[in-house]
């Protein structure tokens, strides 16, 4: 008995092509003089997947149709020298087609052996994506009317260096040996018949004749040789804690916790302006939270930032009724209209282009867009806010702007105006 086997008695029905695939796999491995523990055999659900106990290699038995993805993870995770062999059925290849194409595209170092008996044998003989036109199954007793996927061509098209289709008769171990020798992704599709369901419903059918008739072309599809995909380790990367720190160098003006809402339009720097404002607050010794709200499209519609400032730690950062709302555009007004209307105190700073909403808050109309332009309106509005309130000193905010990535692009006059 081969070193690759624990027992030569395979658990398959009499006449099943899976016997030959297992035997030819062993022949190919022996021909390559591999050691059993160099090999990881990955199987999944289906008759092909109950062969684990026969193999003396490492064995991994996963979920239906996912053995290629599972095997890919193993192959990417192991150092070169191990060989991952994946067994999968035609049903599994159908449900897991994406995994197969992705492994071929990446050129993961795998040898995938497709047991294509053209139906789901374990569950009663239902058709798969590899069932050819005219092939009778329990669900299609008159014969399938649909064409089959051509796995070899699909894998080839996805970048597989090696794809080969063989008839599962006699000795086809050379195909498996060639596949195992490929650096990267190799697929061998073995055509066979399920004695319990395929032969029974398609009596007298010859595999070679079927292959010719339905267009299951036999042969090899060779792709461009590429290095196998390996997990690449980066040696070093900077800590995510290495962020620009803030020195406390301004006196805090703020007494009570203050929630500020800044509402504007996407693409007008609302979130950036709020972050700079938060930096200025931190430089004033305050605790800060900053939350952004915007549509998932990011580049269109409203953009709202909520900034909470406090002398004490902030455990809850939600803002239902802000102390201050700063609105620079119609998008921002629309998005925050509900809570502005609900404000029974506090102050709203509103761009003069906007209609004043009904609110219990004090409303201060200012020209943000006209003075600073749409791109700087949000920042300008915050500079104005700092000047008109005892929250953050205008000098702190101007310095935070200057130190920010956009500092050089902000017109000097609006910064000077803030501290004038």
């Amino acid at each position: 008995m081969s070193d690759f086997l624990t027992t030569p008695a395979f658990p398959y029905c009499k006449g099943c092509g899976h016997h030959l695939i297992a035997r030819n796999t062993v022949r190919a491995l022996e021909a390559l003089q591999a050691r059993p523990l160099d090999i990881v055999l990955v199987t999944d659900i289906g008759c092909h997947g109950i062969v684990d106990r026969n193999f003396a290699t490492h064995t991994v038995h996963g979920l239906h149709g996912r053995s290629v993805a599972l095997g890919a993870g193993i192959a990417m995770g192991l150092p070169p020298g191990n060989q991952v062999v994946v067994f999968i059925g035609d049903g599994g290849a159908t449900i897991g087609l994406q995994h197969l194409l992705e492994a071929a595209r990446l050129n993961v170092d795998l040898t995938v052996v497709v047991h294509n008996n053209m139906l789901y044998g374990m569950t009663g003989g239902q058709p798969s994506g590899l069932t050819p036109c005219g092939f009778r199954t329990v669900i299609t007793p008159e014969g399938s009317t649909l064409p089959h996927y051509d796995l070899c061509q699909l894998a080839h098209g996805a970048g597989a260096p090696y794809a080969r289709r063989v008839i599962g008769q006699g000795d086809f171990s050379d195909a498996l040996r060639e596949a195992l020798e490929v650096e990267g992704f190799a697929l061998v599709e073995v055509l066979e018949l399920c004695p319990s369901h395929g032969v029974k419903r398609n009596p007298g059918l010859r595999l070679k004749e079927l292959a010719r008739r339905v267009g299951y072309e036999l042969g090899t599809w060779s792709g461009e040789a590429r290095p196998a995909f390996r997990l690449s380790y980066r040696k070093e990367s900077p800590s995510l804690l290495e962020v620009k720190g803030v020195d406390v160098r301004f006196a805090p003006l703020l007494e009570a916790r203050t929630a500020v809402v800044l509402g504007g339009s996407a693409g007008e720097g609302v979130q950036r302006a709020a972050e700079i404002f938060a930096q200025a607050a931190m430089a004033s010794g305050l605790h800060v939270t900053k939350k952004g709200s915007y549509p998932v499209t990011v580049g269109v519609g409203f953009s709202t930032a909520e900034v909470v400032l406090s002398r004490d730690p902030i455990a809850y950062h939600g803002v239902s009724q802000p102390n201050a709302a700063i609105i620079t555009s119609a998008d921002g007004l629309q998005h925050n209209l509900g809570r502005i209307q609900g404000m029974d105190g506090g102050t709203i700073w509103l761009d003069e282009s906007l209609e004043v909403p009904e609110t219990g808050a004090e409303v201060r109309v200012r020209d943000f867009r006209g003075r600073a332009g749409p791109r700087n309106a949000a920042l300008y509005a915050l500079l104005n806010f700092a000047r008109e309130t005892d929250t953050v000193a205008p000098e702190a905010l101007v310095e935070a702007v200057r130190e920010s990535p956009i500092g050089k692009h902000v017109p000097t006059e609006i910064l000077e105006e803030a501290t004038s």
Binding site: A56, V288, G292
Partner: protein, 377 residues
């Protein structure tokens, strides 16, 4: 005044995603397998800059299978996702649970059902996690309740994954992952240092038996590809050798062991702030913990006696929670969902009269809602 100073030059505006990612890397997670989904994208972005290795997957089912393969090969993989992506991973999380493969899934909750609102936070996935494993087996779930937890809990979750040979979920939500807060980073470096977790691999002379838990509930681990020992892993019911079995006594004992393993081995972490004489206990987790802490502080400032339990180990439910709950004649459970998922997890579907719930969707639970419920007796 309490300023967020200390060493001011390390004061910075950071979101939870940044801390979770950095903490995972320092704790020894080495591969991030990513598939984009809001609100978990920041973790993917940070991981692409920081993790030793990053694999962009073509879909979530592939992602979790790559993770399982990497874990089988000896790595400690993580991913971050949200419900729509996590739903696709469920079968393979079961597989990893059965194969006993360590991995971490950071689940960033958003508002459902279905795709819901990608940019709205929620606490709606707890009962899903309670019943995630077919058969009702417990899955270790930890939940982030503060920015500090973003730093401190990932190593606990990863160590648990390694110690128990199990997938672990670290639960959080959009408001924690994406909201920025001022933080003294030097404090993290100096007072809350994250050390690499400890992993043990089988190195005995005897043939390796992948599911034999000789010294307790957890079998020793060895990666596939080992040059001295054969390793068999399987997602189907199996014996201690990893060979598929229908329902032999040995196989059923192995399956029973999975429950015992997680029930007995999951660390119990919670924050209990009890006030002497208090008759009301506020119970919460995750993003609502911030509101609960402020509510409790405000109530105490007004002279109301109240205690607070913030649960960080969510699953399996620690017995300690039941003991604490039994001590109080009145319990207020606050959470951002409509069903009262934590309340039902703790009390079942026959909620006791002593229980009051503060619930909602679409907006964070406010401190005043919790305070009102505590006072409203």
């Amino acid at each position: 005044m309490s300023t967020p100073s200390g060493n001011e030059s390390h004061l910075a505006l950071v979101d939870g995603s940044r801390l979770i990612t950095e903490s995972c890397v320092r704790a020894g997670a080495d591969v991030y397998v990513g598939y984009p989904i809001t609100p978990a994208n920041l973790i993917y972005a940070y991981s692409s800059r920081r993790f030793p290795a990053v694999l962009p997957a073509p879909d979530e089912i592939t992602a979790i299978h790559w993770m399982a393969g990497l874990a089988a090969a000896g790595h400690l993989p993580i991913t971050a996702t949200s419900f729509p992506g996590f739903a696709l991973m469920v079968e393979a999380v079961n597989m990893a649970y059965m194969m006993e493969l360590p991995m971490l899934v950071v689940l960033v909750q958003r508002m459902g059902p279905s795709t819901g609102t990608a940019t709205a936070g929620a606490q709606g996935d707890l009962l899903l996690l309670r019943s995630l494993i077919s058969g009702g087996y417990p899955l270790p779930v930890f939940c982030i309740a503060s920015l500090d937890d973003c730093w401190c809990l990932p190593p606990v979750a990863l160590q648990t994954a390694a110690d128990l040979r199990s997938p672990v979920v670290l639960l959080t939500s959009k408001e924690m992952a994406m909201t920025e807060r001022s933080l003294n980073l030097r404090r993290l470096e100096e007072e809350m240092k994250v050390e690499p977790i400890q992993r043990r691999f089988y190195d005995g002379p005897a043939p390796y038996c992948p599911y034999a838990a000789d010294d307790g509930w957890v079998p020793s681990f060895l990666a596939v590809g080992d040059s001295h020992h054969q390793v068999r892993l399987t997602a189907s019911t199996h014996d201690t050798h990893g060979l598929l079995q229908h329902s032999t006594d040995e196989a059923l004992a192995n399956t029973r062991r999975l429950q015992e393993k997680v029930e007995t081995g999951t660390p119990v972490i919670y924050d209990l702030d009890e006030q002497e004489g208090a008759e009301t206990l506020v119970v919460t987790y995750g993003i609502t913990a911030g509101a609960a802490r402020e509510a409790v502080a405000a109530l105490r400032a007004q002279g109301t006696l109240v205690s607070l339990l913030v649960a960080q180990t969510l699953l399996p439910v620690p017995a300690a929670y039941c003991e604490i709950l039994d001590r109080y004649p009145r319990v207020v459970v606050a959470e951002e969902n409509l069903q009262g998922q934590l309340a039902r997890l703790l009390f079942g579907y026959r909620l006791p009269r002593k229980l009051r719930g503060v619930r909602g969707i679409g907006r964070m639970i406010r401190p005043d809602q919790i305070a009102q419920e505590v006072k409203g007796r």
